[in-house]
């Protein structure tokens, strides 16, 4: 069982695909497409949080950069969905490239706050400074080209496309975390000084991880824009950072599957609980408290622990 959790990426991907397809066609394809994209965002966030031990309170900047990168491309260049995606990712990567060297020098609260600071700047830029192009508070609405069956206006195609993207990102992350680079990130999380004294320029690796994280988050932003057909400052709102943090926490930081489980769990709570309970955010707050104090490893961490315990017990029994 632990082997499956650890190694069988095919199994995990199977579960994700089957789960989301079943969910989408029993609930609402539109809504579940949102869930899928959000999971990509959580995967991007968790590169820094779960693997490098750096929590960013300003990740909507990168989501928003992807959203506006895609939107500006579609509005002023060509409304090609693929080019828009590429521009969105490029925008996120660019921000990672320039903010990274400053941000990764810090950790803990300083890292969290530096990201918020840049997030605020970005929010101001899209809301006020460049309002002439971004449409300010109203944002911009867009239509994208379609080519035969490659039609992002078709919810079934869009859903399938986003799910494929999630699987691709998931697989990429899986490869990354199993590699030398992944081990190095875990080392940096636990004891960065020690990694430096193994002869590695940790700043460079942290920078690379930062760029990967911002690019993946931006990719999610671009997909959101294609899904909604508009971009507005809400994508970059610093106040919405709690969403991705909560999702990463609840799923279990540091595992790919945890990010997807957490992303889905958060979306379920925020989409469905909100229907029944007017001030559902209060429950979110309570849940955060519970996680912070008693459930640090999240759902996947908890599952893993249970399985590990079982295996240890079995091994002990076998020895006797």
């Amino acid at each position: 069982m632990l082997k499956i959790l650890n190694n069988s990426v095919a199994f995990a991907i199977g579960v994700i695909v089957v789960g989301f397809v079943a969910f989408a066609y029993s609930a609402s394809v539109n809504k579940i497409t949102d869930f899928v994209i959000f999971c990509i965002y959580v995967l991007g966030f968790d590169v820094l949080y779960g693997h490098m031990g750096r929590i960013s309170f300003g990740h909507t900047l990168y989501l928003g950069a992807g959203a506006y990168g895609a939107a500006m491309c579609a509005k002023y260049l060509v409304p090609d969905p693929f080019l828009a995606m590429a521009m969105g990712i490029a925008a996120g990567a660019f921000l990672g490239l320039i903010i990274g060297p400053i941000a990764v020098k810090t950790k803990g609260a300083a890292f969290a706050l530096i990201n918020v600071a840049f997030n605020q700047i970005g929010y101001f830029i899209v809301l006020v400074a460049l309002a002439r192009y971004t449409g300010g508070e109203d944002g911009v609405s867009l239509t994208f080209n379609s080519y035969g069956f490659v039609n992002f206006g078709n919810i079934h195609f869009l859903f399938a496309f986003c799910l494929t993207c999630l699987v691709a990102v998931y697989y990429l992350m899986h490869r990354l975390y199993g590699s030398a680079f992944g081990i190095m990130l875990l080392g940096i999380k636990e004891n960065e000084t020690r990694v430096r004294f193994l002869g590695y320029n940790t700043s460079a690796y942290k920078w690379v991880a930062f760029i990967i994280s911002t690019s993946v988050s931006a990719f999610a932003g671009a997909l959101f824009v294609i899904n909604y057909g508009f971009a507005n400052p809400g994508f970059m709102d610093p106040a919405r950072n709690v969403e991705v943090i909560f999702a990463a926490l609840i799923g279990g930081p540091g595992t790919e599957l945890g990010a997807v489980v957490g992303g889905t769990a958060y979306m379920v709570i925020s989409n469905y609980l909100a229907k029944y309970i007017a001030r559902w955010e209060m429950f979110l707050g309570a849940a955060l408290l519970i996680i912070a104090f008693g459930f640090r490893k999240g759902i996947m961490g908890y599952v893993r622990e249970l399985v590990e315990k079982r295996i240890k017990a079995n091994a002990m029994a076998a020895e006797k």
Binding site: S179, R194, L198, N201, T202
Partner: protein, 254 residues
């Protein structure tokens, strides 16, 4: 006259007015084994941190084979062969023994810095050059899949030494390698260090003075950030100034 490995000239480091390292002059030649002793808080670890680049001295210079490395970042010094262990055992608790060793050895792997560095599944392939050999020399190869947090303290220290040895050191700095070890483990570690003596240049900080007297060629004594005495080990420990710093003036008066 053998070639000089590392030289410290007038190295000084202050922490908020506390002079942790005060005008330290130090030199070690190729193949030598040197010990540094001194009471708690004397500045021994600080001196290691200065040599390895964790701290940059306020004044003074450090040269390595004639090259000025005073301001060189730690990872570059490691690349030159300056390898250290820490006083507080410093290995990765959340990883297995083998993963710890892999992390140290990736740098020497042919794929390092290439695309495969990011994508080759290391955990599955387990084939990073020289890992098992390094674990073998220190006798913990059998524990390679054990999580480090499950290892006893002494084994962690041995692992840290194995890691240091696996990194092709030219200059090995060991900060209290015997601290917290059982008698058996002390003997094991001493045997390892003795085996290295002919191959490496070693600086050793240690509180268990009696254990290292026969091992080191030269002994330095630090006190309040200064080197107060150095020379042939058995002569040094008889020096009145050394006795005084260990037993204290007050004790002598009473």
């Amino acid at each position: 006259m053998a070639e000089v490995v590392i030289t410290a000239r007038g190295v000084t480091k202050q922490f908020d007015g506390l002079v942790a390292s005060s005008n330290v002059n130090f030199e070690i030649c190729v193949g030598d084994t040197v010990g540094i002793i001194g009471p708690n808080g004397a500045g021994k670890s600080t001196f290691f941190n200065l040599l390895t680049g964790l701290y940059i001295p306020d004044s003074g210079t450090i040269t390595y084979f004639g090259k000025d490395i005073t301001k060189m970042p730690p990872h570059d010094r490691v690349g030159l062969g300056i390898v250290r262990t820490f006083q507080l055992v410093s290995v990765f608790d959340t990883m297995t023994v083998l993963e710890n060793m892999m992390l140290a050895r990736i740098r020497f792997d042919g794929t390092y810095g290439k695309k495969r560095f990011f994508l080759r599944n290391l955990l599955k392939s387990r084939e990073v050059d020289g890992c098992m050999k390094a674990l073998d020399t220190i006798g913990i190869a059998g524990k390679c899949d054990v999580k480090v947090s499950d290892l006893p303290y002494g084994k962690k220290r041995e692992l840290e030494i194995a890691i240091a040895l696996s990194m092709d050191p030219k200059l090995l700095l060991l900060d209290e390698p015997l601290a917290g070890m059982s008698m058996v483990e002390i003997t094991e570690i001493m045997d390892i260090i003795k085996g290295l003596k002919s191959k490496l240049t070693i600086v050793l900080v240690e509180h268990k003075i009696s254990k290292i007297l026969d091992l080191v060629d030269t002994l330095y004594v630090m006190h309040e950030g200064q080197i107060i005495c150095s020379g042939e080990p058995n002569m040094v420990i008889c020096d009145p100034a050394v006795k005084e710093c260990y037993f204290g003036r007050d004790n002598v008066c009473y």
